[in-house]
Amino acid sequence: MENQPTTPSPTELRTEEFVVNIGPQHPATHGVLRIEATLDGETVKDILPHLGYIHRGIEKMTESMPYKQSIYLTSRMDYLSAHINNHACSLAIENALGIEVSARAKAIRIIMDELQRLTSHELWWGSCAMDIGAVTPFFLGFRDRERILEIFEANTGNRLTMNYIIPGGVMRDVLPSFVTDVKELLKKIKGYRHEYDQLITGNFIFQHRTQGVGYLSKEQAISLACSGPVARASGVSCDVRKHYPYDGYEKLDFNEVIDYGCDNWARYLVHMEEMNQSIHIIEQLLDNFPTGEYRTKIKGIIKLPEGEYYQRVETARGELGVYIVADGSNKPYRMKFRTPSFSNLGAVKPTTVGLKIADLMANMSTIDLVVPDIDR
């Protein structure tokens, strides 16, 4: 009975909720994601994400491509974790074929993965601060990311979609100066880290915008299948590098960064600490960089034996799963990607409902969505 609409008298103020489309073209969505937000004034009442604006049918396309070619498509899913996506796909194929990769290739792969994580987190740092209203961090983030992209460009020939990690190892050997280059780079990046803290981490407004905002409980994070920094900031231990190590992560010394804050601030801290851990991982590998083959010879045409194969890796945003159903031919019968951004997108609604519009942007940025990764 109490829900019955009452006709307001002319003197009474009448308020109503309204719907705002945030996206598909909007500065805060960082891609073509549309969020249908029901607002009551400034307060967000409901959120409905609409996907499909950048659906390219990558999973379907892989069915008509030889295994080697389908790896290239994975670079286009989460373009900020291109190396790691390639890595996932290559690992799935290698496991199916039972190929052992050389120590050098493994080291190169992990260094590239962690550098990729650094680029991704640096870009995330800049765009997160920009979503909260500070423009300058974006340029600082890009400055440091640029140095890493230069290493990628010199060693792999590309900056964004590298297609460098292939089944059997890596596409080509790294430059002779690779180790010194990366060491110099890490020194530079470590020297810049205090600027991040001075500019944003220690900023009073930033702390107030993130602390206690966007609460995602541990139960919610698990039930929404969140992974990566989003889940780890809610206290879920889910680092694939620790739980299902691949390519020698088990031999390396690094911490799984877990925070129990469950809010935007916790997600921010997890991202920041992960950058330190990535630097730590790379340093260990550089100290005794293995020599030898960079690629194990495999047949020109890869034919996976009939069966189902699954491989998971930790990208910059969380757990990427590659599920291959092979029918014995040179093309997969079905290739399914479990992408982290898609699952993490679910966390936007529970974190945001009841908060303000500005918090929606803050939450979306700390959840770190890459839209092509949501749609594939």
């Binding site: 607002l39 209203g133 300058t136 930033f206 915008r209």
Partner: protein, 365 residues
């Protein structure tokens, strides 16, 4: 010597020249028009410098060059941008309230320009030397929100509407603490006339003479006026990452340009007011102590021309506002209002009482 010619001499010369060729009434009208045009030209030049300065300051803070292609050091970039804006079509959305939509930018600009009238630019150079100058400025600057509200309402766009409503809440709230800071300075000076306030600082600026209350009032005024100008970190009315461009989302061409211009004019005006109230306007830097060394120092300061003091202080405060903009994240709307109603306003009220006690006891220098 050129430097010895005061602005009063020039104005007196123009006055006598005009009187010799026309009746006193016409002289009055022509002088009004002349002073208006002069103030507008000076302000537009200031805005051009400010836009260029903002880009260079932003570039400096963001590891880039800023404009450096059009003309030497990119100084003509602003002019190129204005030409581009002038050549673009100003269109209004399909179901917008066309009349209000087109009036809004003009209204916002008019209101900002009206606040120029009582400003004292140099000794004896005030367009309207009235004894309620500061009151007039506070009254006029409250009206600036009307143009923004009209723009947001008439655009028929939800982003614009949210931006305009935020701006309304923000400007109305921050008026209070800005006004109370102004009252603190007025209480110290004992006059509402801009000229009188500057004259009262002949032996030292209020920020030095007025003890702690003046410093607090100055800081609160700078914060509140940054909010009144809708500048970051209080740029919620625009809030690029949330509302794309807030209240002027639907504006294009020179109509957008006028809002842009308006933002800079407002910045210039609040900096001029802050420098008038607390930093002595065009008054040179004098120390309020009675020692021979101080007298010599004060005399040396007099050699720096007044226009240099005036614009120097103005651009110093503007630089601080730019510094805020390019280093701080944006506040959320509830935090913004909380800052005003829970912190700035109570502090301003207590500060005003404190200042009153100091004035009554003659503790100020």
């Amino acid at each position: 010597m050129i430097s010895m010619i005061e602005f009063t001499d020039i104005t007196a010369w123009i006055h006598s020249l005009l009187l010799s060729v026309m009746t006193p009434t016409w002289t009055y009208i022509v002088e009004l028009a002349l002073s208006g045009v002069t103030a507008l030209v000076v302000l537009l030049v200031c805005v051009i410098i400010m836009v260029y300065m903002e880009r260079k300051v932003a570039g400096f803070m963001q590891l880039r060059w800023g404009p450096n292609r059009v003309g030497p050091y990119g100084i003509f970039q602003v002019i190129a941008d204005v030409i581009k804006l002038l050549l673009k079509e100003s269109f209004s959305p399909n179901r917008a309230d066309k009349v209000m939509f087109n009036i809004a930018p003009a209204l916002a600009l008019c209101v900002s320009l009206m606040a120029l009238a009582p400003i004292s630019w140099a000794p004896g150079l005030t367009m309207w030397d009235t004894n309620i100058g500061i009151l007039f400025i506070t009254a006029i600057s409250s009206m600036g929100v009307i143009g923004i509200l009209m723009a947001g309402w008439s655009s028929n766009n939800k982003y614009s509407l949210i931006g305009a409503m935020r701006s309304g809440a923000q400007i109305v709230s921050y008026e209070l603490s800005a006004g109370l800071s102004i009252v603190t300075a007025v209480a110290l000076a004992g006059t509402l006339s801009t000229n009188g306030i500057i004259q009262s600082q002949a032996d030292g600026w209020w920020i030095l003479k007025g003890q702690i209350p003046a410093i607090i009032a100055f800081l609160i005024y700078v914060i509140a006026s940054t909010a009144e100008c809708n500048r970051a970190p209080f740029d919620l009315a625009e809030a690029e990452s949330e509302l794309t461009a807030g209240y002027h989302t639907e504006y294009a061409g020179m109509q957008f340009g006028i809002f842009y211009l308006n933002e800079y004019i407002n910045m210039a005006i609040v900096s001029i007011i802050a420098s008038t109230l607390f930093l002595g306007g065009w008054m040179p830097f004098h120390l309020p102590f009675d020692y021979p060394v101080v007298h010599v120092f004060n005399h040396i300061m007099d050699f720096i021309p007044t226009w240099m003091w005036f614009f120097g202080k103005m651009f110093l405060i503007i630089f601080f506002m730019m510094w805020f903009r390019w280093t701080f994240p944006r506040l959320r709307i509830d935090q913004l209002l909380k800052l005003e109603w829970k912190y700035l306003l109570p502090i301003s009220i207590v500060n005003l009482l404190f200042a009153a006690v100091i004035i009554v006891l003659h503790w100020h220098l």
